[in-house]
Symmetry: C2
Subunit: 553 residues, 2 copies
């Protein structure tokens, strides 16, 4: 890896997963980092708040890092910057919207002075040996960029998150000319978004959503409540357009939505005509058909605005018959059930609910197969790494490239931590660097590991039975206990008999030990665990965690 | 509800949910139960194995129950029979396949002598005042039935789970003539399957899967591994047909799959030519292209055959490049992530994986909108209850009926426990009976309630810190402790400082209490919880469950 004439491309996140995107580009003594995102925890990561990439490799090469370049302002691309910058304080380059969102995050996380450098599509910056260019893209947030790197061994093009939207809401077409020009000049490596590689055809334009929105606004005689991702500024813009057209005032709920709207409005990314936005307190000054409520919660997140409304727990808004609720987002895999529950609850309250399955209320922000083919054919790279996707998406994207004539051996499917090594005419995977999931739980970063998670998992399935006993020091006399305390196992009031007998079993096991002069705590605890575990399994078919605690007086 | 001239229809499960279907039909002193299913637990039902309906209403009316009639043999229709029959031992009527599957279940659950009465489509039985007829249906299991009830106030038609498959694998067409005939004579009430009410168009025929299967068999030069629901006998039949055509032997893994294949073969529902089925040990006597492996695990269930293969944990089969894996099922909502992980792992092992998203390897067993319309138009009932669906599916099905001309007030959308009350020309919801989720955890039925679940949930998110202290009786002296034991909170070896300081805080709080002669345990525990909780939250941003235990000597 120390070969100075090679380009190294090292994904620290985003390969084999959707989320926590981060890629290292290294040539000689220069490193540039592309994106620094977070991922949301899987169901089996009990109690974890966020997951961020392992940056050990960067910390070990801290002197080489010249900067971070950002493709766009979504959490899975900027969400771990706070943690990265705390360790490695380097300049960050991105469009104004992305940096605006970053700034908010840094403040929240109390990260001190950082150098944030705004760029725009078309700009080229020099970072060490790398010439880095920003290309206008199109995605579900304004000013998403593709990024290319001119390196001594050739040009690398990274699409960022993109689709080829021919009628983008902000009017900024993806710069297909630039991709074509780069393709013409010759591209060593393309790294392209694989999110929708399994999806045939074309992804719809954000503009298509406008039609559904307009229909809904036209038909509704009551309040309209629209839930979407806070970061989907294009969707929010369309909702505001519709509100103006149909003379509705806009009220915003949800901290992240309020933040994004503020930042995007201040920076000129969101057009919010004077007098459109009103405060929640003012809502009652207007008729129901004069109101549009924008809220978070399109993923059914339990504490979000929409979920609270659906369960009648929102401090300001109670949903009534006559209200129209528009859920303008697709459930992210894993969220299907909570989104469905939210829809069901809103229907139970009598609302009219418009959701993706029965309408055109959402389009994806990512390119489908035909767009991916177009990108590959425009850029016609020598080598190809499908990125931003779970393993099967990468594979599928690889197959697409193969069918377009890229030789199979030039398509590199890897995982986080792989070191992709390039010369001007060769490519291989050469070793691995530390990579993986770093868990953020509350204030702790990386302090919750597998042991803690395993315990949480066992608790969550079977509960715990704690056995406490006080023994006389240097004697074999039980002074107090054994007392049994259980949580998450059985409801004690209904299980007195079970728990009494369990206590008796423990007592017998203990007395046996003490009678035989067995005094080692480890053995005592083992005997307690065995006697109690066996009895409880016989009676209940469950295996709670058993936690013996011995006190000595 | 005691009006003797009214028909009561009481769903105890399956309304507002997919799963645990059970409906009570009552007229005067006669009750017939239609289906007795189970549901699988939601993510937030920590550690629960199964969910079954609350049968309090039936236990309170035990003398009236004349029997159970089954529409078909899927778990969500027969899975709680063992629990029902233990409490209410009445005859069970169903087709031979359904009863064969029931028999297996009863044995497993050690349920004693029960009267299982085989019927076939076309049969009519008398149960109390009800004349009950079975109608040939079509679904993803053979011999699925619709059921109608002739009652003094009119005829009720229940579709069971159905689709209108014009080319069923077993050749048995759904008896559209019978539905038409009933419609002609006049139907008081239709209850129809709402699973796919959100889905436009028609559901594909099981036969369509054959084309994809045949392709896969034709192209594969290695082993073929096919995963599907054990209960999808039609799918299994097609796989066996393909195996025979392409001269492959069949090996079956997974207890439930082995059971179902045995029962279905014995009863003549599955055609398994002599010499097709071989034992796992014989597999190595054959070339890779002479082998078809059938396995469970199409839902990514962690302990299933396919998941074990995907993680290299299967005792017999290790997946290699060259193997083709066919996943012939759709992920049930909530299982998307585990299915995706299984696919990813199989791809990592080098297998070629065919799954629904990229192929026609699965079709639903449930009618889509056009079929639902056909059913409604055939039966043209006076009243309509959409059943078998989550709330939004019921609503959507109701809308479909409305568009076909059924008056809105004749469409009854209810939930579990609703008492639907009918005369020959009126219908209303009249009160509720106990209904809800009864949790099965290990051997316990109903002994895990909300308190236990809440504890499990809290553990799973934040872990637990146990504080133990031994006090002298009638004094205010600490004899031992306070000792802190934590699980699922922090990894103790890395957090000594935190835990030492925490212990000091508890000690101080305790000494303060004792110094002030505060000796009530409740107060002591409260003080410990407050001091410790505050400190830990400050330092970690987490709120573990704090469990103070006081011993007295």
């Amino acid at each position: 890896m120390e070969d100075q004439n090679k380009l190294l491309v090292i994904p620290l996140g985003g390969l084999g997963e959707i989320g926590k995107n981060m890629t290292v580009f290294q040539y000689g003594d220069d490193i540039v980092i592309l994106d620094a995102g977070l991922a949301f925890p899987d169901d089996d990561m009990y109690g974890i708040d966020l997951v961020i990439p392992d940056i050990t490799y960067l910390k070990n090469n801290i002197d080489k890092v010249r900067g971070v370049v950002l493709t766009h302002g979504h959490e899975d691309h900027i969400g771990s910057l706070s943690y990265l910058l705390r360790e490695i304080n380097v300049p960050v380059y991105g469009t104004r919207l992305a940096l605006g969102l970053v700034e908010g995050r840094l403040k929240e996380n109390n990260v001190g002075a950082c150098k944030l450098v705004p760029v725009q599509a078309g700009d080229i910056i020099q970072l060490g040996i790398f010439k880095v260019g920003f290309i206008q893209g199109s995605h579900s947030i304004p000013d998403a960029c593709g990024i290319y790197f001119n390196t001594p061994v050739g040009t690398v093009v990274h699409t960022g998150d993109f689709k080829i939207d021919q009628t983008p809401v902000d009017g900024k077409l993806i710069d297909i000319h630039k991709f074509a020009e780069l393709g013409n000049k010759g591209v060593l490596l393309l790294m392209s978004d694989s999110t929708n590689a399994e999806r045939p055809g074309y992804t719809g334009s954000e503009m298509e959503v406008s039609i559904t929105l307009d229909d809904a606004f036209q038909q509704s005689r009551g309040r309209i409540i629209l839930a979407t991702f806070a970061s989907n500024v294009s969707r929010i813009q369309q909702a505001i357009h519709s509100a103006c057209k149909y003379k509705r005032k806009v009220i915003i709920f949800g901290r992240s939505m309020v933040n994004v709207v503020n930042i995007a409005t201040q920076l000129g990314y969101l057009e919010m005509p004077e007098g459109t936005l009103i405060e929640p307190e003012e809502m009652n000054n207007y008729r129901e058909d004069q109101v549009l409520i924008l809220t978070t919660g399109s993923q059914g997140e339990p504490m979000s605005g929409l979920s609270r409304m659906a369960t009648n727990n929102h401090r300001t808004v109670s949903v009534n018959p006559g209200d129209t609720v528009l859920i303008a987002a697709t459930p992210i895999p894993g969220n299907e059930t909570s989104v469905s529950k939210t829809i069901d609850n809103l229907l139970r309250l009598g609302a009219h609910v418009v959701y993706e399955k029965i309408s055109g209320i959402h389009v994806s922000g990512h390119a489908s197969q035909e767009e991916l083919k177009l990108m590959l054919n425009l850029v016609r790279p020598k080598f190809f790494i499908p990125v931003h996707g779970e393993y099967r998406m990468l594979k599928q994207h690889g197959k697409i490239a193969e069918r377009l004539g890229i030789p199979k051996e030039n398509i590199l499917i890897g995982e986080n931590g792989c070191v992709f090594e390039f010369t001007s005419d060769s490519a291989k995977i050469n070793g691995k660097v530390p990579s993986g999931k770093v868990f953020v739980d509350g204030l702790g970063v990386g302090d919750v590991g597998n042991i803690v998670l395993r315990d949480r998992q066992q608790f969550s399935q079977e509960g715990v039975v704690i056995v406490v006993v006080t023994l006389q020091k240097e004697g074999n006399i039980i002074l107090a206990g054994p007392d049994l305390v259980s949580r998450g196992f059985v409801y004690v009031r209904d299980s007195e008999e079970l728990m009494n007998e369990a206590q008796f079993r423990v007592q017998t096991a203990l007395e046996n030990c003490l009678g035989n002069n067995i005094m080692e705590w480890a053995t005592l605890k083992q005997q307690i665990r065995e006697a109690l575990g066996k009895y409880l399994y016989e009676k209940t078919g469950r295996r709670p965690m058993i936690l013996p605690i011995i006190m000595e007086v």
